[in-house]
């Protein structure tokens, strides 16, 4: 224990009280910004300031889903982030397995590269990334227009386009979560003994059967951790949708919240707070599940 068990009981109580006081201050500092969002979201006359609602109402939430496009934003977010998370889990599951089992010369360079990729800030990559996606998008657009004509091509691009289309955002979001997920899965498979696979191999199972029947069941906890972290990080991302999306139909929750806030003259704090809460909730739930994996993941870098 860092704290000494002082022989003197009054001294010990004093230390205990000090601990409570310090932790209370830190906790209140952490919790206080949440109150406003919670209270304002159920307040009929919400303002920028923290106040006790005079009348409780769910009107703000109703407005998000009925009058404004909140349903679409939420579905867009769930679709984009959900698909990206799924891609990350599949690719990291396969890739992590390969990285754990291979004895090839490229194993160490590859792992070091992944570590270094993790430190590259997305903000610094965004400009060339935008150019790359723009070029790819223009190429794809030309091809699609050749085949389907102008109108249908635009509709298709909405889904498979790299700029202002679902596919581009999904792939980039997934890629940004991939290094950590690969690392988690590689570390995870390192702890799974090879005996199981070898037994399956003896029974004549193919690679795909081995993965489906043996490895996926064994890897579920690791995949859960990798998926949760990918989801939380992609869900909270603001820069990529800000740069890659412009159509209102594709707008996700962070953009909806940000743009609703920019309507300076008609800021409706109750609506914004409710929207912020809707956006916040899935992240908090996912974080609750991810809690027990936090330690391993953060220190994963050192212990390997």
């Amino acid at each position: 224990m860092a704290a000494p068990h002082a022989q003197n009981p009054s001294k010990r109580r004093g230390a205990e009280l000090g601990a409570y006081a310090t932790l209370s201050i830190i906790s209140i500092f952490c919790a206080i910004p949440f109150f406003w969002v919670l209270l304002a979201s159920i307040d009929g006359n919400a303002s920028l300031f923290l106040q006790w609602p005079r009348e409780l109402t769910i009107d703000n939430y109703v407005r998000i889903f009925v009058k404004e496009d909140g349903t679409r934003w939420l579905l867009n977010s769930l679709f984009v982030v959900g698909t990206a998370t799924l891609i990350v889990m599949v690719l990291a599951g396969l890739g992590g397995y390969a990285l754990s089992r291979t004895r090839a010369w490229w194993k160490r360079p590859f792992l070091y590269t992944i570590l270094l990729i993790r430190v590259l800030p997305t903000t610094a990559l965004i400009v060339p990334l935008y150019k790359v996606l723009l070029t790819a998008n223009n190429g794809l657009g030309t091809v699609l227009r050749e085949i389907f004509g102008n109108g249908p091509a635009r509709q298709i691009l909405r889904y498979v386009g790299f700029i202002d289309g679902y596919l581009g955002l999904i792939l980039v979001l997934a890629t940004m979560q991939l290094p950590l997920a690969l690392w988690i899965m590689k570390t995870f498979f390192d702890t799974v003994p090879r005996d199981y696979e070898e037994a399956a191999l003896m029974d004549g199972a193919t690679l795909m059967q081995r993965i489906r029947r043996v490895l996926i069941p064994l890897a579920l906890p690791g995949l859960g951790a990798a998926g949760l972290f990918a989801f939380i990080s992609a869900w909270g991302d603001f820069l990529l949708p800000l740069i890659l999306l412009s159509s209102p139909e594709l707008q996700t929750l962070p953009l909806g919240l940000f743009r609703a806030f920019l309507r300076v003259n008609t800021i409706d704090y109750g609506f914004l707070a409710a929207l912020a809460f809707v956006y916040l909730l899935p992240a908090v739930i996912a974080f609750g599940f991810a809690r027990r994996f936090l330690v391993q993941t953060f220190s994963g870098g050192v212990k390997g």
Partner: protein, 292 residues
């Protein structure tokens, strides 16, 4: 083909999709940014149609650009203030105090962890209310208790405020890592020190700190690179203002590239940020002797 060989090809094959994605959206853009930074590439105007190679001109301009140096300084102060001091000190306090068997421990723990889950835009939005101007804003009301005059916090102390917000977001990260570090220190060491009559203060500075030094270093490196990458909540709060006071390098890159539409110049700034982060990454791998 031998069995061994087939397995080794299969492993390569299932790693391939990850490699392709990482190459297309991270490695190639990182290399391409170096090329872009040597051109006058733009989003609009003549340069957009016909970008030219301009050599080191962007870097010369960068060197003489006070706004660039300002953004480096702001980023530096932001990292020192929030990651190195704010999050670390509060995280260390929390980690040490939460080792006691306190009854409210789970509650404290959850409350400290909560900000970590908040998406960036929501964080910015919550703090706009906290830091608003006027007597009725939350921070103004709290400090009024201590006789401090209310002010428009984001206008008067912009950098300090975003440091406070980022501290708020990251106490949990520091706490989690340092808790892991602390729990690796054995109880006997403390017992022995106490037998020898060491004071709590001596125990902390002579035993706890040195023994968790590697964890502290790991935390510093990890939090420094992740703090350099911060964009969302600061952009939502201040958009870099007022007058560049919170223009972190990430916001400067964004403003140059997507507000001023100068992709070439924005890339030059981005290359600087990439080099910095890579350097820290290499230190991280080498100093901590990461095992792979």
């Amino acid at each position: 083909m031998t069995y061994e060989k087939r397995v080794s090809w299969q492993l390569r094959l299932i790693l391939l999709p990850s490699v392709l994605l990482l190459f297309a959206f991270v490695i190639y853009p990182a290399i391409y940014s170096v090329y872009l930074s040597l051109t006058n590439e733009a989003l609009t105007g003549a340069a957009a149609l016909n970008p030219r190679f301009v050599g080191a001109r962007n870097y010369i301009r960068l060197f003489n650009d006070p706004k660039f140096w300002n953004s480096l300084l702001v980023t530096f102060l932001f990292v020192i203030g929030s990651a190195v001091i704010g999050q670390f000190v509060l995280g260390l306090f929390s980690a040490i105090l939460l080792r006691r068997p306190l009854r409210l421990k789970p509650l404290f723990n959850s409350m400290i962890l909560l900000p970590n889950a908040v998406p960036e835009v929501v964080a910015g939005f919550m703090w706009i209310s906290m830091l608003a101007g006027g007597e009725r804003a939350t921070l103004s009301r709290i400090v009024a208790f201590f006789g401090v005059e209310p002010t428009d916090w984001l206008q008067t102390f912009p950098l300090t405020m975003i440091i406070i917000v980022n501290t708020w977001r990251g106490i949990a990260t520091a706490m989690i890592l340092l808790t892991a570090g602390l729990s690796a220190v054995s109880h006997e060491v403390y017992e022995a020190a106490r037998m020898d009559g060491a004071t709590p203060r001596q125990i902390f500075t002579r035993i706890t700190l040195p023994l968790i030094a590697p964890t502290i270093l790991l935390y510093m490196l990890v939090s420094t690179v992740s703090t350099i990458a911060i964009f969302g909540f600061v952009y939502a709060l201040t958009r870099g203002g007022p007058g560049g006071a919170t223009e972190l390098i990430s916001i400067y890159i964004y403003n140059q590239s997507f507000t001023a539409f100068q992709l070439g110049y924005g890339s030059a700034v981005a290359v600087v940020a990439l080099v910095f982060s890579l350097a820290i990454g290499v230190i991280y791998v080498r100093v901590l002797k990461v095992e792979v």
